[in-house]
Symmetry: C2
Subunit: 413 residues, 2 copies
């Protein structure tokens, strides 16, 4: 068995070393550790699978930098709960993947595996690219605005953000605790379900996965449809057409949710100033202009305004619950368009703010492409807490959509 | 001004050095640091006030041990947000106060200032004793079950646990994120309101405090009345009598909430195993029997059971909201009885589980004593999010209750 494991580790390291110089998905990975961990890993439901850990998530062995020079070379004493659970289930932790600064907007060095001049999206940039390029099987990712859904869309992979609170947050750097949600990136729904069986509880218990068509699909063009680019509009219509051949698809009017994106910005800005109080107070000169602007905006929000936004968010959650009886799946854009050029940043979170505010489980599915061949995801959402059902519906949807486009092999020439 | 500040710091150090050898409220305090911090503190709303920081809360200068040998000598890179905010508002951080292990049950060395053979209560043991004995003005404390309300009751001080989520949790060791709530211990309501003005937002904004009688008081003997000892039963009736002379007091029937305490245990146990996954997996031999038993129990709970408990908790919150229109205050026992003997542990959390489950703001008020002269608190609770109103009602109640009993001076003889 040891030889098998070493062979497997060698192949894993080979894939990383081939792609990493170009794709730059990792802040740290260490072949010596990978081999040692592969040899010593317990047998479990994730045996044979490799994991990349977004670098806002604590690891005691690999430095944890939060995408900020303030935490250069920082070693927490313990691993985050999610890392502990994945390792205990047999997965091998390959290293830390690039995050934007504190999971906000300042980009790291990672590029999009489909077009190296484009962003992989943020903030879970490294996990998205590493999964898309086959360097890891499971990328730990997180979302406070659109940090999981958008890079999954840009990189043509499956991005699963469960219901808020489903996976343990212990040991993850917080940006806005009302929204911060841990999730996974994988190349297929089955692997997302496998990881879910480990991450949802302290004791691994398989999440059953039988592909099942939903009773109905609610098509959500959202209040921001006019801001969706041609690739996104085409992908949503195409997905609706493919699904509609098998189940009822009916448009859902979300005009009552038109203020959701602004509410999300208010709550996130306020909480970010609280969460990053130490960094703002004592290391302000080491913050980027992007996060400084967020924190300055947050400082201008009164507690009363914040509280009102929280109460309104709670109302909207109750309203959405009425619109989504069990058996319902919502279909919505995952990002405004294909991945922008690197010079344009990591893309707009607009199409996820509503859903993050509502705390619904969401899964982004690949398969569709733009006129120029770049990946464009669509997201499926389910009622709060109905994560198993959403995964089952996603497994069905995966069979209806075209196969995931495979990114070009990295060439160093 | 520097001389005033040094004199003030010297008096503070003197008070600590007199009491600490007997009361053992601190895991760490450093006269050199205290003087330096007093000299350099910015002018702000908390100028002149001293703070003790419960040792599950990160500080970069003082070691942060979480009450566990696993974290002996551990220095985080940054201060928790709450520490940053208090210091930026002019308060001087005096040191770290004793917590039980991971804010659960294994007691530290702290004793009750009214009777050194008795517990101060847990888990916020050191903050409670240090505030009661006049060693600090503000004790940072937290509650996941009864860790703030109960020691406040046992130590005859004001314990304010705001609505869940009101104070930032960044940099605080988590035990069960559905419940973990930061709060304060003080000797009067005015100081709690002063700290609230700093802790509730990233930008200090005074919490107005005008003593105001509530419209009505709901008397909650709770489903556990038969388990309340004579001191607690007498204190509640006495408080109801005093308040009833001025406002309407009517009993509230809580029989619909009879399962709340069990729901609380289910959710807390499940989440504790998630939150302490690394410690359980990699340092099990360094955990106490108390926390090991919690984690083993949590491991026996299925995700489905946990989810059902969460949904039921949500229902109970909605139900309680109907029972508590604005202007209502609830009056309830703060602990089963006076502080138990040290050999009996840190006391039962029974009388707080319901309220922690509901996430309501609560303030424990001192003034009443047992037949043997030991302090017994009562707690006032308000509707979720109505923290300012609760503080105003508490300021009124403080004038109605007898004055806080002053603990005996420490004698080393």
């Amino acid at each position: 068995m040891s030889e098998d494991r070493l062979r497997h580790a060698a192949a894993l390291i080979q894939r990383i070393e081939t792609s990493e110089p170009v794709l730059r998905a990792f802040t740290a990975y260490d072949p010596v550790r990978i081999r040692a961990e592969a040899l010593g890993a317990p047998q479990g439901p994730l045996s044979g699978l490799s994991v990349g850990v977004k670098d806002i998530i604590d690891t005691a062995d690999y430095a944890t930098g939060h995408g900020s020079p303030i935490y250069d070379g920082w070693h927490p004493r313990s691993d985050a709960s999610c890392v502990t659970l994945l390792r205990a289930a047999g997965a091998v932790c390959v290293g830390k993947t690039v995050t934007t600064e504190f999971a906000f907007f300042r980009a790291g060095a990672t590029v999009n595996p489909y077009d190296h001049a484009r962003t992989p999206g943020g903030s879970s940039s490294g996990s998205a690219t590493a999964v898309a390029a086959g360097m890891i099987d499971i990328g730990l990712a997180s979302q406070t605005a659109a940090s999981l859904t958008r890079p999954a869309s840009y990189c043509g992979i499956v991005g699963f953000k469960p219901s808020y609170g489903r996976y343990a947050s212990a040991g993850i750097k917080s940006l806005a605790p009302s929204f911060d949600t841990l999730g996974t990136m994988t190349r297929d729904v089955a692997t997302a379900a496998l990881a879910d069986g480990v991450l949802k509880g302290p004791v691994a218990a398989p999440t059953p996965l039988v592909a099942q068509a939903p009773k109905r699909i609610g098509l959500c063009r959202t209040p921001h449809w006019a801001e969706a680019g041609p690739a996104t509009q085409a992908a949503l219509e195409q997905a609706a057409g493919l699904f509609g051949a098998q189940v009822e698809v009916a448009e859902i009017d979300l005009s009552a949710f038109a203020d959701a994106a602004d509410l999300h910005i208010t709550i996130m800005s306020y909480e970010a100033v609280q969460a990053l109080a130490w960094e703002y107070t004592h290391r302000r000169d080491m913050l980027s202009p992007q996060i400084s602007a967020l924190l300055e905006a947050g400082r201008g929000i009164s507690y009363a305004t914040y509280r009102t936004a929280l109460a309104r968010a709670q109302d909207l959650r109750a309203r959405m619950a009425e619109l989504t009886p069990p058996g319902t799946v919502l279909l919505a854009p995952a990002a405004p368009d294909v991945a922008p050029l690197l010079s344009e940043g990591t893309g707009s979170p607009l199409f996820s703010r509503l859903w993050t505010l509502l705390r619904l489980p969401t899964i982004t599915l690949p398969g569709l492409v733009s006129a120029t061949g770049l990946p464009v995801g669509v997201q499926l959402l389910g009622p709060f807490g109905e994560d198993e059902a959403l995964l089952a519906h996603a497994a069905w949807a995966e069979t209806v959509l075209p196969a995931r486009p495979v990114p070009p092999a990295v060439s160093l020439g």
